[in-house]
Amino acid sequence: MTTTPAPTSSWARARHLWGLRWRMMRRNWSEFAHQMRKHPLAIIAAVVILLYILAAIFAPAITVHDPTRGSLRTRFEPPFWMEGGSTEFLLGTDDQGRDILTRIIYGARVSLLVGVIAVGVSVLVGLTLGALAGFYRGRFDTIVSRAADLLLAFPFLIFAIGVMAFLGPGFGNLILALTFKGWVEFFRLVRGEMMAEKTKEYVEAARVSGMGKVAIITREILPNIMQAVFVLATLRMGYMIIMEASLSFLGLGIQPPTPAWGSMVASGRDYLLTAWWVSTFPGLAIVGLVLAINLFGEGLRDVLDPRLKIE
Amino acid sequence: MTQEPLLELRNLTTVFPTRRGEVRAVESVNLSLAPGEVLGLVGESGCGKSTVLLSIMRLIRRPGHIAEGEIRFQGRDLRALSEGEMRRVRGREIAMIFQDPLSTLNPAFRVGDQIRESLRLHHIVDGRWPWPLDMGARRREKERVIQLMEEVGIPSPDARYKAYPHEFSGGMQQRALIAIALACEPRLILADEPTTALDVTIQAQILDLMKRINERRGTGIILVTHDLGVAAEFCHRIAVMYAGRIVEMGSVDEVIESPQHPYTQGLLDCIPRLGRERQPLSPIPGNVPDLATLPPGCSFAPRCPLARPVCESGPIPMVRLARDRRSRCLRHVDFAREQGWTWGTEYEISNQ
């Protein structure tokens, strides 16, 4: 990149650099697609994830039942393959006679939404702070890093539970509780990368070409870090979903009647002896999704992050 | 040859199956080493020198394996030994010295203990008592270790005994490795580029340390190196390897003074030597061929100044030009044919 003759005006230079990276990115993409083919499991996982997403979006079209309404008359219907079960309720019904499959499908909305938003916000915060801290260092860096260290002194779930306890249940609070500590990983990753990249030639080049600091960060460095961030984000997603489920399981997450996998499992606990299916299937849904996400993440990492910055 | 050779390789062949087909890293190598002899195995990196050594130790990592050939050590075929028996040979009778001392010493253990381990493994200092009652044996072992460290020239061994590898300098590390090799007073030492990682002055020290060992104990040594110079000043005989094959073999003086094989010639041209100052150094054009896709004929042909189309045609036999002087070049084959020499082994033409 630095071998290419430097155009005269600084902006020409900048545009030139852009062009270069754009080409690079396009190449990367085709290369990426090619690489990905070497990880069939990751592909399958991606498909599974897609299925979950579609199910969540088109839930009403998929199922005839209402996730929040059921008749006490159809209480504890077993899954269809057991005697007494009917194909009307494929996976049986819960203590309120609600169709479990339906609730699982709608529950996907909560889990996916929480997962995506929580991770999204975490990335946003972590990226910004990390980039600034890593680039400018100084007092700002020290302060934020200290804060991060402090947060790391709490086990994640305990922290989240604590926050939920204080804020009370609810979707927004859930996101807050999860991101409150979630951003730290991204902060540390970005900060570290930032300090590493900062010294590379192309940054020097951009600097001599008279680019502003912000421009350098956003246009020059970040694009080179994004891959790692993206991988980490995917890997964290599964974790976040499990955390949300755990909180809901403890009754600190989404409140009834809104179907959330965690609380569904919890509500089934009282009926383990009589109706095992109530808490079994929602849990299965969690495992399926998280497994898929993790598999996909692993695949991504092998392809995008060969240096294995992320462990 | 009066006495029975210490080590004898009979068309040893080691292969590594890979995605791109079978790589024959060592191709029907014939070698013999007399007791107390120092043989230099010379060639560019990647020509299979180290593989020969690992094959002798039977330490080729799966899925690589020794395809055929014999490894006769003091009369018995090592390939026939069980893993257990082989273990008793390793370190005890044949020891090995590796190229990069730092990565070869275990970073987690004290140097002294690492030397001592060889002693323990082969019950050199015999302490029949079970742990923790074997105090006596351990004390004697430790004494022996310190003695060894002195012998290889590690200063203040008592202090260094407790040190960790990363606290040693490169030279010291290599000396420690040698101490490990010497621990059980083996009959044969396989040295894989022992000096490459070291700077010149240390190189010299290490080399004559090994020389002394060789002289004092009559330990046979196979020295693998890519540096003809090193080989020249240190070895009795030299075998030049190229692409898994031995292309020339003979006593140091003969090989250095009158190299027969063009490859050897080429190697010699790369190093500055006294009396030839006026000649410019000429590197060998091209580079080592991919072992997976070797040409049918002489594998050096593509780079050979004297190459003729025929060279590519078919396998080249080894020609025994004189007693203990061999070369693998079509030119010599023709010469031998003219002389009406007879075929020795399948691959060898000679005049008895």
Binding site: R146, D149, L150, A153, F154, P155, F156, L157, I158, I161, G162, V163, A165, F166, I242, A245, S246, F249, L250, L252, V265, R269, L272, L273, S279, T280, G283, L284, I286, V287, V290, L291, I293, N294, E311 | M57, L59, R87, V89, R90, G91, R92, A95, M96, F98, D100, S103, T104, N106, P107, A108, F109, E117, S118, L121, H122, Y164, H166, L177, I180
Partner: protein
Amino acid sequence: MRAIKVLERILATIPIMFGVAIMVFIFMRLTPGDPVDIMMGAGGAVGAGEIEQLRAEFHLDEPIHIQLWYFLRDAARGDLGNSYIKKRPTMELIAERLPATIELALGALFFALIIAFPIGILSAVKQNSWLDRFSMAGAFLGISMPAFWLGIVLILIFSVKLRWLPVQGRISYDVNLQEITGLYVVDSILTRNWPALKDALRHLILPSIALGAAVAAIVARVLRSSMLETLRADYVTLARAKGAPEHRVVLRHALRNALIPTVTVIGLQVGVLLGGNMIVETVFGWPGLGRLVVDAIFNRDFPLVQASVMVYAFTFVIANLIVDILYTYLNPKITL
């Protein structure tokens, strides 16, 4: 020399703990709802005079920074206030529950390591064998499974269906055991109360698995990858060349070095163990700290939550400290 480094490291944790304390305090005070109301809710009808008294009792009538000062001062003394609901010193309550939690955590850790080490080592030695693939798939599953669900499934299978293991609790309701350390397994051994030991172990199995599974998975993966590295290292070849038998090569030369990264990861997993125990203790009705906290949260029993969260954080910090120290002994190159 090393001792000094260790000491430094220990001292370094003090500011963190301090920060933790302040953080917890701030959270507590941000919380909506008047503690006294809640206490009254628990207590029942009271005179108005009492409320004032309580405000004073909890310094609720003083400005925030004064409250912080009181809080830190008392915390330093190990006094984290009285539980609103249970009307007893929080530290007492926590002390009662801590052994149970520790026992569970240790049980889980034990399980995790018992599983992870053989698997990690074997699947590295026999890379790409069916065993390797199988156990790595298992590890993946372990990572993707929420502890609470695993726990419930285990209960369904082993307790409800097969009736092999108890559904919940630390020890059967009809076994009585002389408590000494509070760790039932230890106590029953100390008192040679074999039936109790058997019973305590039976109770410990399922929760340990539920809590340890994820840890086992992660540790196994890390151990495997680092074993793969060390097994390729030159010093392993040297060990072989020395004539060391294979088991020695693997278990001493390779493993010893593979342990270094693994231990770090295990240290990080302590967090998972601590966090997870809230869930698992709830699922298995394990009378430990985790359950205490959860109850306290629903009771808005602030002093108790506050104290417990701090205890958790401290435990976590200390655990990591221990790991760091252990690490330096494992890896001669590092001195903290």
